[in-house]
């Protein structure tokens, strides 16, 4: 049997709790979004149950990540959009003990291996905006396939803070109601806290293993913050992931959308899906109405949750979604539904025109 890239020991914490708690909440249609205010903005948000987890020390302890046993050829990737901004905010609020250097992702990346209990040969920081986690999976796959490393640990982390909430608020991107992905009345996103860690390795898969089949990335080359209006950038990422996986659109059984619930994102994503699948778009879900948009960490959190859906063969409902609000016939899950145990497509997009697609499957 051929070796494959396997996702091992994934752990996450978001507003709904850990992976198991989040899956249970999602299947029961329970949202973790709470009303505002959030850092002075009158907007709903999806915070950690315990907000002291908004620190690298506390979240790494709480994740309870099991490091790989063999770390002789280990690469560590820190994947985030903004990571830990507490040092920056603290500096500007007059805390004389804070150091601006701690706001640099490279400073944070130096602390993380010991917090996670790993001794990597090398540390890399990937910051591809809200697609960071998915791009990190792509980069990890490439490193494992080329034989540069035998194991990779990815840690994704982005949390609610004044900087992020006020930033999205000044762009008028935040919804006054919990996010309604792909819905006719959607009017913006809901931010959330999130962190995840996962071990990727090249090995002969066993039954039940989740395999990273292929990945693709692209740039819209269209706008600094807004998505392409045509979806062609995301379509290129999907096609690249299909080529990488040696799969065709008909092999895909379900789609985990980026689904931010902004007008332009969801319209763009629907166009990309229709261009790829035509009238046969597989069942699709967005998680952001339930657990919020966790920026760069979100795409890793959501890939881990998608792997749980795949193993159960069940897609939860898209919380916040009632009536289709895009022009293309996207089959957004409105209730718990069975899905084929076929490969699943996970999508992400971000500022700077970033697009990423990751295809996962369960070894059967």
């Amino acid at each position: 049997m051929q070796k494959e890239i396997i996702l091992r020991n994934p752990e996450l914490i978001c507003a709904s709790g850990n992976a198991g708690q989040t899956c249970t909440a999602l299947y029961n249609g329970i949202s973790a979004v709470v009303p505002g205010p959030s850092f002075g903005a009158a907007v709903p948000h999806a915070p950690f149950h315990d907000t002291t987890l908004r620190s690298l020390d506390n979240i790494t302890k709480a994740l309870n990540f099991m490091p790989p046993a063999d770390q002789s050829s280990l690469l560590f990737i820190y994947a985030c959009a903004k990571g830990d901004l507490s040092a920056l905010e603290s500096y500007y609020h007059g805390n004389k003990d804070s150091h601006l250097e701690d706001a640099l992702l490279e400073t944070q990346a130096k602390r993380l291996p010991s917090l996670l209990g790993i001794k990597p040969k090398k540390t890399v920081v990937i910051s591809s905006a809200c697609a960071s986690g998915a791009v990190a999976v792509d980069f990890a796959r490439e490193q494992l396939m080329t034989g540069a490393f035998s194991d990779v640990v990815i840690f994704g982390y982005d949390v609610l803070c004044e900087f992020v909430v006020k930033g999205f608020n000044c762009l008028n991107a935040l919804s006054s109601e919990p996010a309604k992905p792909f819905d006719k009345s959607r009017n913006g996103l809901t931010l959330g806290d999130g962190a995840a860690a996962a071990h990727l390795t090249l090995d002969i898969p066993k039954n039940g293993d989740i395999i990273i089949c292929g990945c693709g990335t692209s740039n819209d080359a269209n706008h600094r913050t807004g998505p392409s209006r045509t979806g062609e950038g995301l379509l290129r990422a999907i096609q690249s992931a299909l080529t990488d996986s040696r799969l065709t659109p008909s092999d895909i059984g379900a789609v985990k959308c980026h689904g931010t619930a902004t007008n332009y994102n969801d319209a763009m994503e629907a166009k990309a899906l229709y261009s790829c699948f035509g009238d046969n778009i597989p069942p699709a879900i967005s998680l952001k109405g339930a657990i919020g948009h966790m920026s760069g960490a979100g795409s890793l959190v959501e890939i881990i949750l998608a792997s749980s859906f795949l193993k159960k063969g069940l897609l939860p409902p898209t919380i916040g979604y009632t009536e289709l609000g895009v022009d293309e016939p996207v089959k957004i899950s409105g209730s718990v539904q069975e899905i084929d145990k076929k490969p699943m497509l996970c999508l992400a997009a971000g500022f700077g025109g970033q697009n990423a697609a990751v295809i996962i499957r369960e070894q059967l």
């Binding site: 640099l104 080359a221 290129r236 971000g350």
Partner: protein, 253 residues
């Protein structure tokens, strides 16, 4: 089969001046840092300024213009960008926080507070629609970025990759950071391609053994200076990523 990779253009902006395959300029008397670079020094264009571009984005934009000069056949779905931006968007983050404290959070600043913002205008203006890699720190972001550029071409995910490395913290905010180990404001860019677009394209190779002892930021800055020097001369050269790790090198063959 391993593809041949060529460098068909480069650009560099250091405290000594501006360098590329086609030009070499030193700063004039009114300029004391790459921060004060003018648009007319790198781009033949009637536009007088860089608009709202903040320092990291501005330096990245300038070196990309230098590296892409004379390379009209790149761009499109098969052209990607790999960038090392070790200080990320810290300088822009600081401007945004100041606007927050003033009670008027600035959307233009917030839009540029991501390391991925650094490549946005380059991708838009040059229609680079292929894959990207943005390394905002880590042990060796420059060598990671060059290696990623080569890997994207070897894996047939791109035909052309614009490699960039940018160190940028504006002079006002630089004084607020501990100066120890800070790299001067500078930027380097090179266009790598699987096609030999002209006779002056230089064939290149890379040998990186990740289990070797690691480099540091200052070493990677020194590497960019040595690489600039080698590309200007255009002769065969082996350029180690650091003196401590001669087994990791870039070669002009």
């Amino acid at each position: 089969m391993t593809k041949s990779i060529y460098c068909s253009g480069f650009g560099a902006i250091y405290s000594e001046g501006i360098f590329s395959k086609l030009t070499e300029k030193h700063w004039d008397d009114t300029q004391n840092d790459p921060e004060s670079i003018r648009r007319d020094q790198v781009i033949d264009s009637p536009m007088p300024t860089f608009g709202k571009l903040n320092l990291p984005d501005k330096l990245a934009y300038c070196v990309s213009a230098l590296a892409l000069a004379g390379n009209q056949d790149c761009g499109g779905d098969r052209s990607g960008i790999c960038i090392a931006v070790p200080y990320g968007s810290l300088t822009t983050d600081m401007f945004f926080m100041e606007s927050v404290l003033c009670g008027l959070p600035g959307p233009a600043y917030f839009s540029a507070t991501l390391p991925s913002s650094t490549i946005a205008d380059i991708a838009i203006n040059n229609k680079f629609k292929g894959p990207d890699r943005i390394f905002s720190g880590g042990d060796t972001p420059v060598s990671d970025s060059i290696q990623a550029s080569f890997n994207l071409i070897q894996a047939d995910k791109a035909d052309t990759v614009l490699f960039l490395s940018v160190w940028a913290i504006d002079l006002k905010n630089r004084t607020r950071l501990s100066d120890a180990g800070l790299v001067p404001n500078s930027a380097f860019g090179a266009l790598f391609s699987s096609r030999q677009s002209s006779v002056s394209s230089l064939k290149c190779s890379l040998d990186i053994r990740n289990n070797a002892s690691l480099s540091d930021t200052r070493s990677e800055y020194d590497f960019c200076i040595r690489l600039t020097d080698a590309l200007r001369k255009g002769n065969r050269a082996v350029i180690p990523f650091s003196h401590d790790t001669p087994e990791n090198y870039f070669e002009i063959t």
